[in-house]
């Protein structure tokens, strides 16, 4: 009963925080998805320099913790450019997820059998056309579960923005918890909000997976 009252009382604050969490996540994914595709394409190109560059980028992102990347964008770059905190957090998340998405896309494409490329070539299709009409639709279907997974991770990782003072879900939970000397209740409440958001992403991926069931 008490829990319900606290839940209702804190709802306006949490809903505001949820808005911010959604904003950071959506902004970052909006950048990360094309970035991932671009990096994947660059990695598949014949240009050695491009290839080396993408490898270095992925190495850098996977080799450092996300919280370090966020702090570097927030504190480290202030001498050069002062990024607004929403932008700093979203960019760090985009930079981070771009690398993981690139690897997901690459893995999916590599899983398509070589015979299909050869068949397309023997039909006289160009490389670009082969990718667009034959490889990518199949690869997309295979990548879908992993993409959904990565989107969920991105959503939950947005909680790290709390450490650069953004009033997103997690920061609101811990601040309320500290002020009311009751972390447990607010952490349980914030879990509900995250569960709702994650359910939404899960639902979307499930729908997409159904929509693409006929491929293959």
């Amino acid at each position: 009963m008490n829990f319900l009252i606290t839940f209702m009382d804190s709802a306006p604050l949490f809903l505001k925080g949820m808005g911010l969490t959604l904003l950071i996540t959506c902004l970052s994914l909006l950048f990360a998805t094309p970035l991932g595709l671009l990096v994947m394409a660059a990695g598949k190109s014949q240009n050695r320099l491009l290839k080396a560059f993408t490898r270095f980028y992925i190495y850098l992102v996977r080799g450092t913790p996300l919280i370090v990347q966020i702090f570097i964008l927030y504190f480290g770059l202030t001498d050069i450019i002062k990024l607004e905190e929403t932008i700093a957090a979203s960019l760090a998340l985009a930079f981070h997820n771009g690398a993981y998405l690139a690897e997901i896309f690459r893995g999916a494409i590599d899983s398509i059998s070589k015979g299909q490329f050869e068949a397309a070539k023997s039909l006289g299709m160009s490389r670009l056309l082969t990718y667009r009409k034959i490889i990518l639709p199949q690869a997309f279907k295979r990548a879908l579960p992993s993409i959904g997974n990565q989107f969920i991770i991105a959503l939950k990782d947005s909680s790290l923005a709390a450490f650069i003072s953004m009033n997103e879900l997690f920061n609101i939970a811990t601040t309320l918890g500290a002020n009311n000397f009751d972390q447990m209740t607010y952490l349980l409440i914030v879990s509900i909000y995250y569960l709702i958001l994650v359910s939404f992403i899960t639902l979307m991926t499930n729908l997409l997976e159904k929509r693409y069931f006929y491929v293959e």
Binding site: F163, I164, S165
Partner: protein
């Protein structure tokens, strides 16, 4: 099956290490220089830590300072994770509902820090950064809804010096020391009142509260508390009259 049993037993053994009654475990934040910080050797140090050590000596126990996030300390006390928190807690009625406080061991007050050096700026509707769970957050709420919350005062001050937010509310001494230690283009702006800082102790532990109060009294009368204050701040912050 045998191995599983052994491993489970081991985990249980590690999990319930017996509480040692010869220790005085006290929490400090480690993020509130010069009251508590990690020194070059990696150990906890600072005014709060040394007060805790002196009290341990008076109680005849071994000092065990523990680093804990300030925002969770009152709850840590309630859960019995440590015996006391010597962490510059301002004594407030709200906190008293959950823990007991010793008599004050130093006096200070919330202070406004800003980038501009204009005197006594109006705080209305400014973006104010504070540390989580602090009384400064309450102080800021009187002026604005635009409050940014950090895990530590020092991080908030660093963000201010890097051009973020408009002002930070924190302890006068902490802020001044941060400026002295190299945080650039921020200034002490105005005082928002006085506060008394006490050691927090769990509600049930009335005996420890009395013991700590006696220890503090002794440390006041024999001058060790004042000495410690002179060592860190070159003035006596431990008596109410000298705090201004």
């Amino acid at each position: 099956m045998k191995y599983i049993t052994i491993i489970t037993m081991l985990i249980i053994c590690i999990g319930c290490q017996q509480q040692d009654s010869k220790n005085f475990k006290f929490a400090v934040s480690g993020e509130f220089k010069p009251f508590s910080y990690i020194d070059k050797k990696g150990s906890l140090n600072g005014f709060d830590v040394e007060v805790g050590r002196l009290i341990s000596a008076k109680l005849g126990l071994e000092a065990k300072p523990i680093r804990y996030k300030f925002a969770g300390m009152i709850e840590g006390l309630k859960a019995g994770r440590f015996d006391a928190a010597v962490a510059s807690h301002t004594i407030t009625e709200e906190r008293k509902k959950f823990v007991n406080f010793s008599s004050p061991y130093y006096y200070s007050g919330p202070h406004v820090f800003s980038r501009s050096d204009a005197k006594d700026i109006s705080l209305k509707d400014l973006e104010i950064a504070v540390s989580k769970g602090s009384t400064y957050e309450k102080a800021a709420k009187k002026y604005t809804n635009n409050i940014k919350v950090y895990d530590s005062d020092i991080t908030a001050l660093e963000a201010l010096s890097k051009g973020r937010h408009q002002v930070v509310i924190t302890d006068l001494i902490t802020g001044s020391m941060a400026i002295k230690n190299g945080l650039e283009n921020i200034h002490a702006n105005q005082s928002l009142g006085a506060s008394a800082q006490g050691i927090a102790i769990a509600k049930e532990n009335k005996k420890l509260q009395d013991q700590i109060n006696t220890a503090l009294k002794e440390m006041r009368s024999n001058g060790t508390l004042k000495q410690l204050s002179m060592k860190y701040f070159k003035r006596d912050i431990t008596s109410k009259d000298n705090s201004k």
